[in-house]
Amino acid sequence: MAKQIAVISAHNDAHIPFVEKHLKAPILRIDPQEITRGAELSFYFDTRRSGVTYKGEDITDLKGVWLRKPQPVQAAKLPVTDSYRAYSQSAIERLTAQLLTAFPEARWLSDSFAQNRANNKALQLTLARECGFNVVPTLFTSSPEAAKQFIAVHGQCITKPLAMQFPQVSGQQMAFMSTQIGSDFMPNLTGLHLAPAIFQKLLAVDIEVRVVVVDQHVFAATVHTGKEQAKPQTTHNAHVRHHIRDGRYNQDGATSISPLGLPVDIAARCIKHCKLLRMPFGAIDLIRDIDGVWWFLENNPNGQWAFVEDATGQPIGKAIADYLEGHQ
């Protein structure tokens, strides 16, 4: 029997069809949440062998594993009493975590531990410099004084959160978005020791580019977000929204995505960056400024890409399918 390709993700992940249609056989969907509904996941070990069984099927020998976006087990939704929620959740999570090392002979896109490492922003910026990218002057700090000095040197800056969770105020979910600061608007820096953040020199942007790397293949597209103001999206700190520089906020939904031919040296640097991060996949954000200079922003180890293929027709899904099947 031919070896299968598996995807570890929510069963209704909209990215799956973009890849599955290029595979020779139906993709095996492994959705950890289905365990809570009675689906079997088993790992067997003895002196001679080990094996993995999912829903009664032996899946020990997979050809490729696509680690997409599996949904976490939500303790609140488990059909157990409150006193058992954390216990049940922990057990299920620990079982599904064994998947991450269960298929050592398969082609992974991407290895989970490499993704963990690649998510380190300091590492990304250091490797970007090694690759020959221009790196925007950036400061990660807990010090108000360090932040003040940085802003004094660079003038207009962007500040971004390091935090990955944000508070709720009166039941409303809040967030700290990438915000322009400088002469027009200066936040209170004194609480940085309680919420360290990122400060970055503001670039004069010509185009924003999303580059998807799949092994040796590079797919680049410009992403332009309409700047027209929608109805006010916030009453809290309303003065801040005019300084927000995250394209996903305060836009009327008009986003145009167009394929872009990258300079050969820039494309080569993108491939090298992913290789240094030990990943066959990366979703890299670049900026070309008004002087034509290219700048590295970040590499998302598991970034969304279907929206790029959807808009441009670039065969990203095919490239992923080919990689998983070992055609690359």
Binding site: N12, K69, T179, F307
Partner: protein, 62 residues
């Protein structure tokens, strides 16, 4: 000798400080993880606030 039954309100208030970013918080729409996965629009990715990215990311298995 200090009376432990007397609460020093000034000390209590001083224990609470405003972390950086509190004066830049804005309201956002929380997209459900299902919505994010069903939507191929990259702009919804990351608009999951209040749900830590690792909750919707493959890293949640680690």
């Amino acid at each position: 000798m200090t009376n432990p039954n007397i609460v020093d309100f000034q000390m209590w208030e001083e224990e609470f400080q405003q972390p950086f970013g509190s004066d830049m918080l804005v309201e956002v729409t929380v997209e459900s993880p299902e919505r994010v996965l069903a939507c191929t629009d990259g702009r919804t990715d990351g608009l999951i606030m209040g749900i830590a990215p690792e909750d919707i990311d493959a890293l949640s298995l680690a």
